[in-house]
């Protein structure tokens, strides 16, 4: 077993990993920027190392500073969390070269799945369905037009090097293609340093359903069932749940089988997520997240398993702690992301000082919080303050617990997404499990 782990992250996910490490008797090491000195994740660890000023590229995104902190503390392993360097294959490779255990898949797999065009092709060869689109990056507007006439409109232009919805441009019909192409190229170049684009059919009112997978790197892969993450704003998830409501047994079986097939095809190690887009009874591979997912707690709640502890075990070279038949989905769990943003102002960021922070508690309620009263929530990082998770024996019970918990949650000093979540939980669409990824943009949950 590894005897120590450095957590190269901040906020709620750093706390989550530090907690797992401590529970396993593994020495835990936090890192922090100047803006985060005194934040909860720093206090949670056995040791904490300052890694630079507030801007992420000089601290949490600095491979050099993080490896230096690992050397100074004698850390044996590095857990990247999500975001920041978690899907940067150069970081995973640098860890390996420094003699550190990277808690995650191999850098080769991160690189392979990080290239979204290559990943699609790879999954297609493995027999996993993909959204109709270009076979790779398109070389020119002329080629884009040819592909578009083959797959049909509406369609989406996506950055080949992108992720998280950044740089995507929707095209309604042929007349809008040229302008959209120029916009997408510009955004891709600005965000990712490469203007390479690929094209996909734009699906109408689709659902986002993903499958949690776990592999041992030797071809053995299990799944931990699915999560529905259809409620999104700016192509980022805000509410997630497991099981996915109104999912037919046949479709669920095909989804989980495809996820395992895909992960096996890349000899996947550790925790990962196969993301799919679902329309009716059809599903298509979207991308693979080669890391721990923000919404992993809903899976933990319905399976009773600890995904982060399993990550540390498998990274230590231990076999998978579960057989597929041991992994049972019981009851239901929902997660609401408590973002520091103003739902009344189109989810604009809302930095500020948390003057009051009273998270709810009670049966079936779990709060994964990165903050405490008095914290100055800065402009430098992701707006996620906490994740509120409600579990119940049934989906209705989980909904009732979540609705009550959202009523009880008190936050003062900045705006949060809590009022939005209250409306989602009260809506007929959510209660009936009839959600899709375009609902927030369409204003379905507006006040």
């Amino acid at each position: 077993m590894i005897d120590s782990v450095l957590v190269a992250n901040r906020g709620e996910i750093a706390r989550r990993v530090l907690r797992a490490a401590r529970a396993m008797g593994i020495r835990s090491i936090a890192v922090y920027s100047e803006a985060d000195a005194g934040w909860p994740h720093v206090r949670d660890a056995d040791e904490a190392v300052a890694i630079g000023p507030a801007p992420a590229r000089e601290s949490y995104l600095s491979i050099e500073h993080i490896l230096d902190a690992a050397r100074r503390t004698g850390a044996r392993a590095v857990h990247p969390g999500y975001g920041f360097l978690s899907e940067n294959w150069r970081f995973a490779k640098a860890c390996e070269e420094a003699g550190l255990v990277f808690v995650g898949p191999s850098w080769q797999v991160i690189q392979q799945m990080g290239d979204k065009v290559g990943a699609r092709a790879h999954m297609q060869r493995a027999g996993v369905p993909i959204v109709p689109g270009s076979d790779g990056p398109v070389a020119s507007l002329e080629e884009a037009a040819r592909v578009a006439s083959r797959i049909g409109y509406p369609l989406m232009l996506k950055a080949a090097a992108g992720g998280g919805g950044i740089g995507m441009v929707r095209v309604a019909d042929e007349s809008g293609l040229a302008q959209a192409y120029a916009t997408a190229e510009r955004r891709a170049r600005a965000a990712f340093g490469s203007s390479a684009l690929f094209i996909e059919r734009y699906l109408i009112e689709p659902r986002h359903i993903e499958v949690q997978v776990f592999g041992d790197g030797r071809g053995q892969v299990v799944h931990l069932h699915e999560r529905d993450c259809s409620i999104q704003r700016r192509h980022q998830k805000v509410v997630e749940e497991s099981p996915a409501p109104r999912l037919s047994a046949g479709l669920k079986q095909r989804l989980t089988a495809a996820a395992v097939t895909g992960a096996r095809a890349v000899q996947y190690t550790n925790a990962g997520t196969m993301e799919f887009i679902v329309q009716g009874e059809e599903f298509y591979f979207l991308e693979m997240n080669t890391r721990l997912q923000v919404e992993h707690p809903v899976t933990e709640e319905v399976t009773g398993l600890d995904i982060v502890q399993a990550q540390l075990l498998v990274a230590s070279g231990e076999p998978l702690p579960w057989r597929q038949e041991d992994i049972v989905q019981r009851g239901a769990a929902i997660e609401c992301r408590i973002y520091a943003e103003d739902p009344a102002k189109n989810f604009m960021p809302s930095p500020g000082t948390l003057t009051r922070w009273v998270p709810p508690s009670g049966p079936g309620i779990r709060v994964e919080s990165g903050v405490a009263e008095g914290c100055q929530v800065s402009v430098h990082y992701d707006p996620l303050l906490a994740k509120l998770v409600a579990a119940g024996a049934t989906r209705d019970e989980a909904i009732a617990r979540m609705a009550r918990a959202l009523e009880a949650f008190v936050v003062e000093g900045l705006r949060t997404a809590i009022p939005f979540h209250r409306r989602v939980l009260a809506s007929a669409a959510f209660r009936e499990g009839r959600t899709h990824t375009q609902m927030v943009e369409e204003g379905a949950f507006n006040a």
């Binding site: 801007p55 960021p349 990082y381």
Partner: protein, 71 residues
């Protein structure tokens, strides 16, 4: 009448997209702020000529701060 262009959110100046003397239309971005991993343009409230940019790239601005002045 000169008119001040104010930041509508708190953020760090990510990019300055206009310079003194430029003509802008209502809704054109004058500067772009970065806040919580989002890029948010601060738009000209009306058409006019940029008289002055009052911020520099990398500077933190608070909601309500003047970032530019239009002639």
């Amino acid at each position: 009448m000169p008119e001040e262009v104010k930041a509508h959110i708190t953020g760090v100046v990510f990019q300055i997209t206009s310079k003194p003397g430029d003509s802008v239309a209502a809704g054109d971005p004058v500067i772009v702020l970065e806040s919580m991993k989002m890029e948010i343009p601060v738009e000209a409230p009306r058409a006019g000529k940029v008289r002055e940019i009052k911020v520099a790239e990398g500077q933190t601005v608070q909601e309500g701060d003047t970032v530019a002045v239009l002639d």
